[in-house]
């Protein structure tokens, strides 16, 4: 195996630690809050990047999977299950320490709800993926958009999902040994590291996948589905698997984000969010996990800090147009960076020449 693929991972880990130390030194630790949220969004982005950039299948419905993760854990950790306290399932969960009573209410452990969220996500991804992945190009984009719309309207219109208000008072998620996914300020630093650990693990997994036999098959489907099948690649199965994997990444991000923010609202399921994810993957260079990750953090951070004000959606729309027009290969792309560097140098040279001549004249 080549260990070289993990060098950027070490750089990323070092950068994550460096940023934290920098905020500590400058007393600007409040930046970590948005960097933590950006990390969870980056998790969605890298999963979508694998689906879009490598396997060549678009999804305009990934906010739907994020919402499935977030809403499932939010509902299950806030719901009072005391009505079911006599049931065998609750009894079993109680003896396993996965359900606890407090103040007359019976609540499920976040582990149970996280497991449920992932199971539901996988099931929905299969059910949606099997029919829509038969479609290609614009048709797939529209069908996935339809899925996103359905999820959005469901969470917006259903009592148990809190309708327009969403769900609040979602408890923190005590992972182990005092680590707790929660939005309380004193846990800011550990939450920053929890989120980035997840991103690093996810990135390593996807890099491994992309460089494996299965990843090669996925990329071959992108190159020519007909030729891939003629070479023995079960294209429909591979497309479905990568769709499910990317859905799980989105759902996991949604689940952790719900614990971090103490709730979730329908805006997370908004189709515009899905469009934003696609725009970020495009800006990162499509078949480029590191580009997607970089853009995922950078653009989400800019957006979360509120630098764009009410023009946030417009900004991402503009990014889509600009990327498609000027850099369809994305911004973080070795070839594009190279040509950009060459162009910049020749521009500087010509400016130098001009100013040099100007100097003589004066």
């Amino acid at each position: 195996m080549d260990a070289g693929r993990y060098i950027p991972v070490l750089i990323l880990a070092a950068a994550v630690a460096a940023v934290q130390l920098f905020t500590l030194a400058t007393g600007s630790e409040y930046y970590l809050t948005q960097l933590t949220m950006s990390a969870y969004y980056a998790l969605v982005i890298i999963g979508l990047c694998t689906l879009m950039g490598y396997a060549g299948q678009i999804s305009l419905g990934h906010a739907g999977f994020f919402a499935i993760g977030g809403y499932t854990v939010s509902v299950m950790t806030t719901y009072d299950f005391s009505g079911f306290s006599g049931s065998a399932v609750m009894g079993l969960l109680g003896t396993l320490g996965l359900a606890s009573a407090s103040g007359g209410e019976l609540h499920l452990s976040p582990w149970v709800s996280l497991a449920a969220a992932l199971v539901i996500t996988v099931a929905v991804a299969f059910i949606i993926g099997i029919p829509i992945l038969k479609l290609k190009g614009h048709y797939l984009a529209m069908a996935s958009l339809g899925f996103g719309l359905i999820i959005y309207r469901i969470v917006l219109g259903t009592r148990i999902f809190g309708e327009a208000d969403g769900i609040s008072d979602v408890p923190g998620f005590a992972i182990a040994g005092g680590l707790r996914v929660s939005g309380s300020p004193e846990l800011r630093i550990q939450n920053y590291y929890i989120a980035w650990t997840l991103v690093i693990i996810g990135t390593v997994m996807l890099i491994n996948l992309v460089k494996s036999r299965a990843g090669r098959a996925l990329r071959s489907i992108h190159g020519s589905e007909e030729a891939a099948m003629a070479m023995g690649v079960n294209a429909s199965r591979y497309k479905l698997y990568v769709f499910v994997i990317s859905a799980v990444f989105a759902s996991l991000a949604g689940a952790f984000m719900a614990h971090l923010n103490g709730g979730i609202g329908p805006s997370e399921a908004d189709v515009m969010k899905s469009v934003k994810y696609v725009a970020i993957v495009a800006a990162g260079g499509m078949a480029n996990l590191w580009g997607a990750l970089t853009m995922g953090v950078l653009l989400n951070y800019i957006s979360l800090r509120g630098y764009l004000g009410s023009y946030d959606d417009a900004f991402f729309g503009a990014i889509l147009i600009a990327i498609m027009l000027f850099a369809p290969e994305g911004l973080i792309n070795p070839a594009v960076m190279k040509t950009a560097a060459v162009r910049a140098r020749s521009l500087i040279d010509s400016i130098k020449k001009k100013t040099g001549r100007g100097g003589h004249a004066s």
Partner: protein, 258 residues
């Protein structure tokens, strides 16, 4: 018989693209399919390789029915192919293209890939070594690291051959391998086809270059408007008045008669 095509038909709307075609291909032979444009040659290939389902008829490979099965399972049984308008994976290097050809001869799945299990490393090494060996054999190992979309047209054809061979096929379907090539490149392709046959691979080839066909094939099937109008050795096909008529036109054919 390695491949048997029995009464296979396929229509598109009202057009009978392939109409009741039957022939068989013995092991270790080279069989050619010729015919004018639109005769149904590529459709026939697609029916054999599984890209299309026949409306009726059967296809046997090694005695087992394969008609209507998905292309990837037919590939896994040992049927490989090239395409008339070369279909390389332009998002991958030449070497990676050939490595995809090893797909059915390797097994690591998604989970093994995601966790980069040691079993993958051994297999990846094996896939890469075999693929490099094939590029070497076809004399294009220098292209291994190039992007498949950035190499010369003639080289793309050879790389597509390499990818098809990486599957270790028993039967290789070649769809107009000399199309768009100059005489020198065509001679090179003929050489490669002979080499492939020496490896024990059976070949079914569609081609318009008659000198190439007459040179390499053992047997020829002639299609016209979806129907099979002749089958036989190259020397017989050259003399067949029906074949001469469809290739040269009615009057020319009459002129040729003694």
């Amino acid at each position: 018989m390695l491949l048997e095509v029995k009464n296979v038909s396929r229509a598109f709307g009202g057009l009978r693209a392939v109409d009741d075609v039957s022939f068989s291909v013995p092991k270790n032979s080279i069989k050619a399919i010729i015919g004018p444009n639109g005769a149904g040659k590529t459709t026939l290939f697609n029916l054999i390789s599984g890209s299309l389902r026949p409306d009726s008829g059967r296809v046997f490979f090694n005695g087992r029915q394969i008609q209507g099965r998905p292309p990837h399972t037919i590939a896994a049984r040992g049927v490989s192919r090239t395409f008339q308008n070369i279909k390389l994976f332009h998002n991958m290097t030449v070497l990676e293209n050939v490595m995809v050809g090893r797909h059915t001869r390797s097994r690591s799945g998604f989970m093994a890939g995601i966790f980069n299990l040691p079993s993958c490393w051994r297999e990846e090494r094996e896939i890469e070594n075999r693929s490099r060996g094939i590029l070497d054999m076809l004399g294009v190992s220098g292209l291994a690291g190039m992007n498949a979309g950035n190499i010369a047209f003639g080289s793309q054809r050879i790389v597509e051959f390499a990818r098809a061979l990486a599957l270790e096929p028993e039967l290789l379907l070649l769809d107009e391998p000399a199309a768009g090539l100059n005489m020198h490149e065509t001679a090179e392709i003929a050489e490669i086809i002979r080499k492939i046959r020496e490896m024990g691979v059976t070949i079914l080839i569609i081609e318009h270059d008659m000198s190439l066909i007459m040179d390499i094939s053992d047997d020829i099937v002639v299609l016209s408007s979806g129907k099979m109008i002749a089958e036989g050795r190259p020397s017989d096909i050259q003399k067949n008045p029906e074949v001469i008529r469809i290739y040269l036109g009615e009057e020319d054919a009459q002129d040729q008669e003694p």
